[in-house]
Symmetry: D2
Subunit: 171 residues, 4 copies
């Protein structure tokens, strides 16, 4: 008996606007960074803040939604799984590792008008977007075990390692 659980849940703010690209097979991939902040008392008893940065990658329909509605500063809930990729860094010749959260569920928190730098000054478009959001369901991609042979799942992980996509690396 084996199998496992690999789950990450984050609430934080986007560090920048999401970036999208398309794989050779036509899937959308969207990346963004997310900051989660914790407060804690240090040795002297004063409150300190510590921010942790996370690399989020999302695929397919959810990637399109993230690309369309998320902006720098927006507060979101992200659920997904941990994935560590390795690649050979051209410059140093070293093998490098990146750990990302493959996002399978995302929810916008707070209200549109309350959010960061992104939504301001973009007029009706963002508004239309948000009200579209208001009436839509939770943004979710099917968990691994439920994919029904669509054939695009393996590309979720292998895609980013394809040689020609190297400069799409998320950071």
């Amino acid at each position: 008996m084996a199998k496992g659980l690999n789950k990450v849940m984050l609430i934080g703010h986007l560090g920048g606007d999401p970036e999208s690209r398309n794989t050779a097979s036509g899937q959308t991939v969207t990346n963004f960074t997310l900051a989660t902040t914790e407060s804690f008392k240090d040795a002297t008893g004063t409150w300190q803040e510590k921010t942790e940065w996370h690399r989020i990658v999302t695929w397919g329909k959810l990637a399109e939604i993230c690309s369309q509605y998320l902006k720098k500063g927006r507060q979101v809930y992200v659920e997904g799984r941990l994935q560590t990729r390795s690649w050979d860094d051209q410059k140093s010749g070293e093998k490098k590792y990146t750990t990302e959260i493959v996002c399978t569920d995302m929810q916008m928190l707070g209200s549109a008008r309350d959010q960061g730098t992104g939504n301001g000054g973009q007029g009706g478009a963002a508004d239309t977007g948000m009200s579209g959001y208001d009436r839509s369901p939770r943004y979710t991609t099917a968990p691994k075990g439920t994919s029904t042979g669509s054939g695009d799942y393996p590309q979720q992980s292998s895609g980013p390692m394809i040689e020609s996509e190297k400069d799409d690396l998320p950071f």
Copy 2:
């Protein structure tokens, strides 16, 4: 408004026996790797397995328990938060990053006699250990926000970056 959620939950098997050390301040730090395995259908519709490896670090009392009771192959539940550390790699002169799960809750799954290579053939010691475990509570360290000025929390994160401990880096 800020603050955040940074939570990881894993169920998997230890890739090796845990390794412990003590910080200058006397805290115990225990590291181990955890494999989580997922199955999915590939493009041809056949089932594939994919294993993800996670670096777990745990502190204080929980570190001692992990060191004492966990063995290679043991199935556990791990809860914690993501933390990415950077350091300057001496060999290459490159800055490198490691993402770890700072474990704040751990639970052994299955039964002792059912577990990997570790518990077998080690006689009474492991047994005593397990029955000690059986009567003890869930192994947990206090979350960041609840530390009450004990002064050792910051060492949880800053400890591993102290110069003199560089060769204690978990990988």
Copy 3:
């Protein structure tokens, strides 16, 4: 604005064998109870145990798997969402409420040979079953937001409240 997160994650042991039935529409529904145990120090400083009982309901393919492989005493991980149903109790004429976990992901923990009363002494059938399990993926039903108009999702929640199914109420 809006939407939400409603997530439950449990690790515990089944209090009895699962019970299955079929809805009018042909869906399988499987119910079981799950015990989660916590230890804590009481006012006198001695360790106490407290067991919480949870009512689990699962639908469709996952219901079939639970029915087939789970037995009294088996340790499992259950993920799902909270759902409170009300019904008019015939005897008392009172309105009553039941809170259940609608299970959308289940994983067996430990090994088959290590588990409760169920698997022992039932010969090859259970064994065949278990090895079938071993090669299959994580048992998951699609989250609400991802159903693609298949038409059977609403029956997950509305089904149990249909008049003709009243005496199928899980407890």
Copy 4:
């Protein structure tokens, strides 16, 4: 080997202002209801919304914070564990059950000015509150296993069942 996991994570909006009381032992207890909303396609393919209501109970320091800062309509993240209590209903003579989430972590989401009916029209007080919040840590109570013999933990669960507090029942 046993022990278990009993975890609930919710993101939703308060259905009303929190209500607080004090136990005989001087602990603060705060109750509120939380609505989580999900969208799903029904059998006809149209989007439907379903709201689930949750009863939240929180203790001690966290109860004081909830009482002070949360208002009807406010969006929050709640983490806790499921607990089912029973009591004898005086009117009907029936045994009744209530399932609650014993909240051990809470975080306010969105911004103060963006929140429901509660904060509006209350002038500076709410503002002071919120900026206090901005500088404070995550609101958390220690998990069960980490209580260090303070003696008040058992009252978390037994408190609400004390005869004289019956009319404090959360609903």
